[in-house]
């Protein structure tokens, strides 16, 4: 574990003028506070936050295994909402079943299209220094901050009014998800390009490599962790996505898990724990992607210091 830890020091440097001035108003009869003491208040606050953020989700996972229809009282363990007979389990309800597949299809397709587009875009924008490039970079960052609903509405109109050859449903969903997620690889890879600089490529050029060869043999391997991290982000982002796919889906057949959960929460159609089971499966996918992503990223950057913290933050897009 490579962590920069502030080592506890035995005593404050009392001979410093600063230290004296700081304690000028401190009553003499009180013991002086240890400046390296633990931040108990902040630490308790943090733990409270963590409990608040994690326990509700854990309970929701638990209720997906409830042996009954209740979402609020525990009636024993069962797998009936996952594999139970009848129409209410994820395995046997065609709608639920299909939603799982649709989510995976969307995530896969979007990642496969977005990542190459975004990586090439980042490299191009970074090297092609011109007003056009600066403008495109502006547009890209705008697409990152625009509220998703506004983009989704605009996409709905463009698909129904102008580009009618893209039918609502999977095609429109993928087209929209790609544009919504394009900024992830573009931003992540571009940041990495800036830190790498051009020294290595120039060295390769001096040693006789052509531009393309230098990119392929020198730049690409160095960019690989960033590319991979952005792929993880896009995949997980699509699993979680709701607004764009809701606006651009057509029939029940093209609804992924998130839309199905949303549209069934208040209807009597599917009982609560079945939705919890669906959400738990979604969570499972995300966690598998996260853990795999973390391990592979860690493996890719195994020679770097501070690897584990860095891997964690990169996979979360920080």
């Amino acid at each position: 574990m490579a962590v920069i830890a502030e080592k506890p020091r035995p005593a404050a440097p009392m001979h410093l003028p600063g230290a004296q001035r700081e304690r000028a108003g401190w009553p003499k009869f009180l013991p002086r506070p240890n400046p390296w003491r633990r931040a108990w208040f902040l630490e308790s606050f943090t733990w409270l936050y963590l409990i608040w953020s994690i326990v509700p989700v854990a309970l929701a996972v638990l209720f997906s295994f409830n042996n009954g229809k209740s979402q609020s009282s525990w009636q024993g363990f069962s797998l009936q909402w996952y594999v139970g007979k009848g129409d209410t389990s994820v395995l046997h309800n065609p709608e639920l079943h299909h939603a799982v597949i649709q989510t995976l299809v969307l995530a896969g397709l979007t990642t496969v299209i977005t990542v190459p587009l975004g990586v090439a875009f980042a490299i191009g924008i970074d090297r092609w220094r011109s007003r056009t490039a600066a403008g495109l970079s502006f547009v890209m960052i705008f697409s990152f901050v625009v509220p998703e609903l506004l983009l989704a509405v605009a996409l709905f109109f463009v698909v129904t009014q102008l580009l009618r050859f893209i039918p609502l449903g999977t095609y429109a969903e993928v087209a929209g998800l790609v544009v919504w997620n394009l900024s992830w690889p573009a931003i992540v890879v571009r940041a990495r390009l800036v830190t790498i600089g051009r020294v290595y490529e120039e060295a390769a050029a001096d040693l006789g490599a052509s531009r393309i060869r230098a990119m392929w043999r020198v730049l690409a391997p160095m960019l690989m962790p960033a590319i991979f991290a952005s792929a993880v982000l896009v995949f997980a982002g699509v699993i979680d996505d709701f607004v764009i796919v809701e606006q651009l889906s057509s029939t029940a057949n093209t609804q992924p898990m998130s839309v199905l959960i949303y549209s069934n929460v208040h209807s009597a159609g599917l009982p609560g724990p079945a939705l919890n089971a669906l959400a738990t499966i979604m969570l499972g996918f995300s966690l598998i992607v996260a853990v795999l992503g973390l391990l592979v990223y860690r493996f890719m950057t195994r020679q770097e210091r501070h690897g584990s913290t860095e891997a964690l933050t990169s996979i979360a897009g920080m």
């Binding site: 574990m1 962590v3 830890a5 600063g18 001035r21 700081e22 931040a39 902040l42 606050f45 953020s53 994690i54 989700v57 929701a60 979402q71 009282s73 587009l117 090439a120 875009f121 191009g124 924008i125 092609w128 220094r129 011109s130 547009v139 960052i141 705008f142 697409s143 901050v145 625009v146 509220p147 998703e148 983009l151 509405v153 605009a154 996409l155 109109f157 463009v158 009014q161 102008l162 929209g176 790609v178 544009v179 394009l182 573009a186 940041a191 800036v194 600089g197 020294v199 531009r211 979680d240 607004v243 959960i261 929460v265 609560g272 919890n276 959400a279 996260a290 964690l312 933050t313 920080m318």
Partner: protein, 325 residues
Amino acid sequence: MTPPSRQPAPDTAGSGRPRVPRRRDDRERYGTRILWAGFAAPGAIWLIVLFVVPFYVMLAVAAGQINAFFQTAVPVWNPLDWSGANFATVWHDVFGPGAFLGGQAVRTVVYTAIAASLCLAIAFPVAYFVSRYSGRRKTLFLVLLIAPFWVSYMMRMLAWIDLLQTNGYVNRALAFFRLPGHNTNWLGGDSVTVVLGLVYGYIPYLILVLYAGLDRIDKNLLEASRDLGLGKWRTFWRVTVPLAKPTIIAGSFVTVLPMLGDYYTNQLLSAAPGTTMIGNGIEGLLGSPGEQGQGAALALLLLVVLLVPMGYYVISTARASRENI
């Protein structure tokens, strides 16, 4: 494509060290420009066709006509033929007397303001603790902080739907401690629930942004401040906070902008007309026959209001990346 200029391209890569200008002929430089433009082209085309053009289509629909027979929107592509009728209607609906969208607009602002402030008030101490005081346990805390990031929004809302049922754990806990309100129907259109949902939904992103920013602050500056005689609190206010200010602003945008376009949190947690926000207004208009144009106009109105903060964010991001280079 701009013609290749005669000046050497400014060398901004690397660490700003002086670089020996290399002599290249214009043809080679033109070739590389084509190469880089070619790299950027596919993504750029996708962005223009499916990000820039859609907003023009939205404008054409908002300023367009309605097919009287089918009650569908008919976009008008030529700006000279645009009509402002939909904008006028929407403006009247939001600001006019007896406006049915006015309440939504007010609620959007109030909910977002309260939720975003709560987010910041909770997220900042947590991010501050993990970046400064977590010491050897930093990885553990980071894993726990990042965990909610991987839990989908729907799952997080479902979790509260479970807890806030009338016989759910929240009410049972309130009854156990003999606190008032243990009979509250939290999911029946309660503003408190919606604000809580917004906070719970968006806080993980804010914490990650704040942590990343606070962690980047040079610890030597803090030590220098202490050595120069400032106390703990004054160091915090006069060194940490100013250094963290860009992060705080960026983080606030990252939470506020999606909240303003939110329409699902209140649907999931209350589904009552008394807690709807402007996003629900847009959705509702889009879904009603004959009112798609008004929906587009309302969405554009929201976009225009948001252009200022979005522009600020985009420009400050561009400036920051330029400074990094």
